[in-house]
């Protein structure tokens, strides 16, 4: 029954995807095969849900469910992330179960595919948020809070927090719900894939309000 349901979903979603031209790759040095990646994204790993079931047909994610936007993220970052779910340094039962049958080559192709997908216009975050919270978020993101040893996000995530490389992903335009969920995951020891625990160290110094503020502000910044 499950199998049938997924098949129907995949066929429908697949049609819409095929009609959508691929976006221009941000990085010409991609190593995976995005076309094969697209096929894998539609099929899933053979025993689970396909990527689009949660991440959407265009990799746009789902703010309500805290499923991240993966379209247009750095290819190496996407690859490392999927590996981390396979290896257990990131913990998310849905992700782990749905990609466990993929080989490294498959993950490379999937990463290449999602990295090439166009990023939606900024401002996908429409939820109401208090102006004071956004102001706190802007201050923390831009200046950090050095007295609490919280450096500004851009110290590592690059100009406008749009990402540097496979270790320092873009944060701007990511769903606030996902950013919050991940900062909490670091605090709770469920995300250990960051090099040198660079993010874990900072995440553990943020309080609940600061997390809400940073997430809300970053989600409202242009991804590109």
């Amino acid at each position: 029954m499950m199998k049938l349901k997924w098949t129907a979903f995949v066929v429908l979603a697949g049609c819409s995807l095929i009609m959508t031209p691929l976006g221009v790759a941000k990085d010409s040095s991609t190593t995976g095969d995005p076309e094969r990646g697209q096929q894998l994204a539609l099929q899933g790993d053979g025993s689970g849900a396909p990527c689009l079931a949660c991440h959407g047909a265009m990799g746009e994610g789902n703010a309500a469910a805290a499923f991240p936007r993966i379209a247009g993220l750095n290819e190496d970052y996407l690859f490392r992330t999927m590996q981390a779910y396979q290896q257990g340094t990131r913990v998310n039962p849905a992700m782990s179960m749905n990609i466990d049958n993929f080989a490294d080559a498959d993950l490379r192709d999937l990463a290449a595919y999602f990295a090439t997908l166009p990023v939606a216009e900024a401002g996908t975050e429409h939820s109401e948020v208090a102006p004071e919270l956004l102001a706190l978020g802007e201050r923390l993101v831009t200046n950090g809070d050095w007295d609490a040893y919280i450096p500004p996000c851009a110290s590592c995530h690059g100009p406008n927090n749009q990402g540097v490389d496979g270790n320092f992903p873009g944060l701007a335009g990511q769903h606030a719900s996902y950013i919050k969920q991940q900062l909490l995951a670091w605090q709770q020891g469920q995300r250990r894939s960051d090099p040198l625990q660079l993010m874990e160290a900072v995440a553990k110094r943020l309080d609940a309000e600061q997390i809400d503020a940073v997430a809300a502000y970053l989600a409202r910044q242009p991804a590109l």
Binding site: S47, Y85, Q87, G88, T89, V91, P93, S96, M97, D100, N143, W146, D147, Y149, P151, A154, S155, C156, G158, P159, N160, Q162, G163, V164, D165, N167, F168, G189, Q190, R192, P195, L196, Q197, L198, E200, A201, V202, K204, R205
Partner: protein, 334 residues
């Protein structure tokens, strides 16, 4: 059915592995969220430098002064706006003076405002605050200083001076000044091989195995630690003890105290055993220049042999189209 049992097992295994790595981390000397900095010693003077919010709201500031201090802060934080004019590498003030130049053990700038004019051994005469700032431009930013008295220089001075608001003038026993000392003698056994290991394990992810740092969208994100984009051979950071103390109390970013003292020494020695733009005081012979400025260079590897090559024996000034800026000159008060 088999499959789903299998998957639950794998997820549990993943959680178990995550638990193991947590144990491994706990074996380290410090937890990632912890910040381990030296304690102020008894009798040392401490000062809390004002925050950005204070500049923005301080009722004592004339609006025009507030504007100039904020301009100085912007120059301090985004010094690359002076690239090609006064800055000829990838460095900014905040590359070394982290935490907005306010933090203890991160080269806080307020002591420059409270202790200058003062005699400096580096150039052997009494220096003003402007001249001290000029030193950073000449060496750390491999460039030349904005003209003394210019708008740019005055704005920078205003930021420094405001950071010292309320601090005791000419107090010299200051906690957290500079980067804190691990002592000035390189421990016996400090070497490049171990330094390279420490570097690859702790620094390369940001600064690159080639030391060139990283940029994004044409902007410097992680500054270069050697090569043309980095500080030149006259910068205070080329002194191994200065770099070791900086690293110990500031690196990796967000985790001061993560490295052991010896790791900091080894990696500082390794980083400063690489080529970089010429010392502006160069006489044409690195060994002779080292001898002439031995008071400074006894702490650097400049003019010494590494792998059979004398460090600094070259005419490379990086991007800078001159060797010595005009404002690097003696004062005699005659």
């Amino acid at each position: 059915m088999m499959t789903s049992v299998n998957k639950v097992t794998r997820v549990l295994a993943g959680l178990w592995i995550a638990g193991i790595s947590a144990t491994v981390v706990a074996a380290q000397t410090q937890q990632p969220g912890e910040v381990t900095l030296p304690e102020a010693q008894a009798g040392q003077y401490q000062h809390q430098a004002p925050r950005l919010q204070d500049i923005e709201t301080d009722p004592d500031l004339h609006p025009e002064l507030r504007r100039v201090i904020l301009k100085g802060r912007d120059l301090f934080m985004n010094t690359q706006q002076l690239r090609g004019e006064y800055v000829f590498n990838d460095m900014t003030c905040k590359s070394c003076h982290m935490g907005e130049g306010r933090m203890a053990w991160s080269g806080p700038v307020w002591p420059a405002a409270t202790t200058l004019p003062d005699y400096r051994g580096k150039n052997g005469h009494v220096n003003s605050l402007e001249e001290r700032i000029a030193g950073c431009f000449s060496y750390s930013m491999n460039g030349k200083a904005p003209e003394y008295g210019s708008d740019t220089m005055l704005a920078l001075v205003a930021y420094h001076q405001y950071m010292a608001k309320g601090a005791k003038v000419y107090e010299s026993n200051i906690a957290g000044r500079g980067f804190a000392s691990l002592g000035k003698t390189i421990p016996e056994g400090t070497n490049d091989a171990r330094g390279k290991q420490v570097y690859e394990a702790n620094c390369a992810v940001c600064h690159g195995s080639d030391g060139a740092g990283k940029t994004a969208d044409g902007q410097v994100v992680f500054p270069p630690l050697w090569g043309d984009g980095s500080y030149n051979w006259g910068a205070g950071m080329t002194r191994v003890f200065t770099a070791a103390a900086f690293i110990k109390n500031n690196m990796p970013l967000g985790q001061p105290g993560r490295l052991t003292d010896q790791e900091a020494w080894d990696v500082a020695y390794y980083i400063n055993g690489h080529e970089r733009p010429q010392d502006p005081r160069y006489t044409g012979d690195a060994k002779a220049t080292r001898e002439q400025f031995l008071n400074f260079h006894k702490a650097t590897r400049y003019g010494t042999e590494v792998d059979g090559v004398v460090l600094g024996q070259h005419d490379n000034t990086g991007e800078k189209p001159f060797l010595k800026p005009a404002n690097l000159k003696p004062r005699t008060f005659e």
